[in-house]
Symmetry: C2
Subunit: 259 residues, 2 copies
C-alpha cells in the first residue's frame, strides 16, 4: 500500500509520500510515489500515486511522454493537467483492464496532482480509478490517498488554509508517523516537497530516510508526549456516568439471566 | 459503520462500542453494538458486532435463543462460545446469503466476543464473516472491528497486557475520540464495559452520551494537548535533510526539464 498526503494552503502546497510497494507480504520493495514536473518560472506539478503499481507506472509513462501532443509539460492549466491524468488512467484501463479482470484483479489506482502553472493560482486535485477527479478548496484543503485513515485525525485537528507551509509539512510528517506505526504496508524513505505560492520552482525538497535525525526526533518526541498527555488524563470517573439502568432494553439484556 | 474495541489485559477485559448505524447517509440511526450475557458467579460474556445490521441482529437472535440446546448461557468455555457465534453467522449466511448476493450486497459482519466462564481464564475472540475466528494473546492483546484505523495508533502506543483496566478504558475512549473526529459513520452514545478478572460479574459499565462530562473533558484536553505538543515540535530542519540529489533516477525526473 501507500500513504500520500497533499495540502493546499494559502501560502502554497505541501506533498508527502511514502515508498513502500508490496504485492503480498512476500514481495515488498521500495518505489517512489512522487514525481515532479518542474520548469522554473513556468510550472511545478507534483504527482503522487497509490494503487496497483503496474497501473500507476503505466499512467506515469503516458504522462511523461514528451512526444505526446499534450502532456504535463505542455498543459496550460492545472485542471487540464488533472484531465490528462484522468485520460491516461482511462487509456491504461482500456489496455489493461480486461486482462486484470480475467485474473480477478481490481483496476485500482488514485492520484494526487498539485502545483502551479504560470498565470494560475496553486491548485490540488484528487484523481480516481475511473479517471474522474475533484479539486481541493478552502473548506477541505487536503487530500490523502492509500492508507489514509491512521493519519487523518491529526490533519483534521491541525491543518487549515491559514497553516504556514513548514507547520503543515510538520503535520504531514506526524500524520505519516501514525501511519508507519500502525501499518507495515507503508514505509520509508519519504519524499517531502514544499512549494511556495507563485515561486514557480520547487521551494524545498527532502528525501527522509530511516536515519533522518529530524524525523526520528519528531517520532520520539511525539510518541513520548502523547504518552505523557495520556497519563495526565484522569482515569474514567465511573461515579458521574449513567449506567445501563438508563437503557431499559439493554438493561433487560444485561440482567435477564441475573441471579 | 461502527467502531468497537476489546482488550484482554492481565487484570481483565475492556470493551467499548459506538452506536451509529447507517444504510447510506440518508438513513442514520442509533443501534447498540454491545450485548452482555451475565450470570453472576458463573459467566460474563460481552459480544460486540460490526457490519450489516440485519445480519448481526439475526446472529444475535440465534445466540440469545434460550430454547436452543446450546447457547451463550450454556456453553462451558469461551472458545465454544466463539464457535457458537461462528455457527450462528454460518446459519444466517445459509438463510440470507443467496438473497443478499442477488441484490449485490456483501455478507459483511464481524464480532468481538470476550469474557470469562467459571473454570476458565478471561479470553477474547474476533469472529469473521466466514464464521472462523482468532483469539487474542499477550503479543496482540486487543481486537478492533469496524472503522478501526483512525483509533489504532494510540492503542498501539499505549496498551500492553500490563496496562491497568482503567487506563485501558481511558485509552479506548481516546481511540474512540480520534475515530469520532474523522468519521461521521461512527457516533455516540458509547457503551463502555470493564470486567475484572475472576469477578464473574460486570465490574463497571457506563453509557456515555454526548453530554458526558468526563468524556467531553477528555476530548477537549486531548485535542488541546495534541495541538500544544504539535506546536512544541520545531519545524522541519531542511538543512539537515538530503535532497533529491541523492536519488539519481528521481533527480533525473525532477530536473529533466529544468532550465
Amino acid at each position: 500500500m501507500t500513504y500520500c498526503v497533499g495540502m493546499r494552503l494559502n501560502s502554497g502546497l505541501v506533498f508527502l509520500s511514502d515508498s513502500r510497494s508490496n504485492a503480498g507480504v512476500d514481495h515488498v520493495s521500495t518505489v517512489r510515489k512522487m514525481t515532479v514536473f518542474e520548469r522554473r518560472g513556468d510550472r511545478v506539478l507534483v504527482l503522487m500515486c497509490s494503487g496497483n503499481l503496474a497501473i500507476t507506472q503505466a499512467v506515469g509513462h503516458l504522462l511523461s511522454e514528451v512526444s505526446r501532443p499534450e502532456n504535463l509539460w505542455t498543459v496550460n492549466s492545472m485542471a487540464k493537467g488533472a484531465e490528462l491524468v484522468g485520460e491516461a488512467v482511462r487509456e491504461v484501463y482500456r489496455r489493461d483492464g480486461p486482462s486484470l479482470q480475467q485474473f480477478g484483479l481490481e483496476f485500482n489506482c488514485s492520484f494526487i496532482l498539485g502545483g502551479q502553472i504560470r498565470g494560475e493560482d496553486c491548485r490540488l486535485f484528487n484523481i480516481y480509478s475511473a479517471g474522474n477527479f475533484i479539486e481541493a478548496y478552502a473548506e477541505n484543503p487536503y487530500f490523502q490517498i492509500g492508507e489514509f485513515k491512521y493519519g487523518k485525525p491529526i490533519v483534521d485537528r491541525v491543518v487549515s488554509p491559514e497553516t504556514p507551509l513548514d507547520v503543515a509539512a510538520k503535520c504531514a510528517l506526524i500524520s505519516m508517523d501514525s501511519t508507519l506505526k500502525s501499518n507495515i504496508s507503508v514505509g520509508m524513505p519519504l519524499d517531502l516537497l514544499v512549494y511556495e505560492r507563485d515561486s514557480l520552482m520547487v521551494s524545498k525538497y527532502a528525501t527522509i530516510t530511516a536515519d533522518n535525525a529530524y524525523f526520528n526526533a519528531i517520532r520520539a518526541f511525539w510518541g513520548q508526549e502523547l504518552r505523557k498527555t495520556f497519563n495526565q488524563i484522569p482515569n474514567p470517573d465511573w461515579e458521574s456516568m449513567p449506567t445501563a439502568e438508563s437503557w431499559p432494553v439493554f438493561e433487560q439484556q444485561i440482567r435477564s439471566q441475573d441471579q
